[in-house]
Symmetry: C2
Amino acid sequence: MTTLNDVAKKAGVSYSTVSRALAGSTLINAATRERIIRVAEGTGYQVNHVARSLATRRSFTLGLVVPETTNPYFPKLIDLIVHHARIAGYSLLLNISGTDQSEEGRCLQALHQRRVDGIILTSGLHGIVGREEIDLLQDRELPLVVLGWVPEAEKYDLVACDDAAGGYELTNHLLSLGHRRIALLGPKVCRDKYDRIQGFLRAMAECPGAQPRVQTGIYTEQEANTAVHELLGSDDSPTAFIGFNDMEATWIVNSLSDAGISCPQEVALAGFGDMDVARYLSPRLTTVAYPIETVAESAVTMLLNRISAKVDLSVRQHVMLQPHLVIRQSCGAPKQFKF
Amino acid sequence: MTTLNDVAKKAGVSYSTVSRALAGSTLINAATRERIIRVAEGTGYQVNHVARSLATRRSFTLGLVVPETTNPYFPKLIDLIVHHARIAGYSLLLNISGTDQSEEGRCLQALHQRRVDGIILTSGLHGIVGREEIDLLQDRELPLVVLGWVPEAEKYDLVACDDAAGGYELTNHLLSLGHRRIALLGPKVCRDKYDRIQGFLRAMAECPGAQPRVQTGIYTEQEANTAVHELLGSDDSPTAFIGFNDMEATWIVNSLSDAGISCPQEVALAGFGDMDVARYLSPRLTTVAYPIETVAESAVTMLLNRISAKVDLSVRQHVMLQPHLVIRQSCGAPKQFKF
DNA sequence: TACTGTTTTACAAGCGTTTGCAAAGAGGCA
DNA sequence: TGCCTCTTTGCAAACGCTTGTAAAACAGTA
């Protein structure tokens, strides 16, 4: 493996001169720089980032922790973050904490040991699990940005979306179409006061006669299917369904079509997230668009600022983003309803 | 940041002793080892992998290059590879080469500079683009495994799937249902002799009276939509459609339903890949299951063997896997066809 | 020519580990 | 007690780079 020294010998200069030439330092003659660069290219020299990191104590690597990849939200997020990191000259170490986030602590520790310059931690259904490890990182002043609202958010730099506002807006849309019995199916309340379920409940509470049904604990297509059938079998079966996210909505639409119920003619359906699948589904899904591009960009920007500026660590930064409703074809007025 | 030295001072031994204690060397007294480990834990010492990598010339990091993440095949692959790598004690540097793979060379170079122990390169629609950079890596004897069949495959270690066999099996299934006019829509032939389109054409050629239509250059939902409408408008409009992958199949099913054509009643549809979406789609999609779990595991295993064993680099290893047909609900017999 | 000031280059220390080798201790035996 | 072995520990070099500082080279000026 060619090193700085090899290049130096070949160019007849010392290795520090080569280092400066390659780093574009001003303390060097333009002509020698050119010559050295040409020699370096000739030998196929590739800078050793490991050695550089050790010397500079900067790895130009970011760590990303994500719970899973089956929910298409996460791949998209990964893609965007890789992209923004790369623009800024950073590589990305990817860790997967598991749907139950049980590996979260270990992931953080692994990233710490690899001396990443900063970490983006995507919180999941369980919020943050590796609090201890985070404390250690914060003692070491290693920049870390949490994605998604979590309890005790004031302890972290954080980028999140006001899902409650999204749930509120979506629910009001359904209410305005005339729906009163609306069921929301999903795993669990996980964003505290900013949870979409909270927004749903608030909108329903504000509407006289509205009958909210919230069915949590739904993690699989099977569970969604069972829940849909139970709800449809009840006396006051809902005229509209909301999936906790677009994936749950696809499960619901399948359950409905299996039961011979057409959507949106007989029952309205909405999702959350505005993933690609929302546009592929038939009927195309009315959903709440999550500002994922902005989330990714804000997170990277915030992290890079922390890394370079090291500004006042005692004040944590928060960015709260707003989602917005995307109306497509999956929600009509309830059958028995006439304006 | 606590170092070996800090721990050593606190424990009253030299840093090399600490190093040995933490590495579990036998050249050390069990009692002192215990004591040192306890001291290390007390100080929150985290080994510096950068320094370790420099000293050992092993980073315990793998590089993964993937073209994009919108096709759900890639996220799933990433997830599996991260998982297998982690089991073996490796971290994962993720690089995205772009749908056009224009960044592939740069990705490989970046991984090289970061001194990963090995690279998994996922080839895309364009096969391999960074041949030059690969040559350089191979000169340096950096282990690299290519995913997906590419021209001049004999030059690389490679794990691939015989898509042609999958296309052949799927097409024969449609033929056996009575379809003769079958259209395949997709981007382009990209797997050489192992391409699914080749398998399709072979099966069609073997069936008297079969009329294959292959429409390439279809990269977006819009393009798929146009193609479907053109095909449906022709005299001998196809009775069955095959999507190059499950994503293209979802585009087709939407075009069909927009055109008021029911699937599978009026037209059959099949996909390729058996991604999650194939099970969510209505109708649930008949498709060719790609052995993605085996691909991921084989690739990591092959790479790790190369890294540790360094066996006979002159002989490249190939693993060819077989896909298999998954019959669901999207393919019936053609309308005018009676057995 | 000698001196000063300004590039330009070389030297050397340091980043935090690992690891071969030497040294120190401990214990056994004559 | 002295010698030898074996175990345990410490020393120092190395990994490949960055960077502060000293030295050299080169002009320009008096």
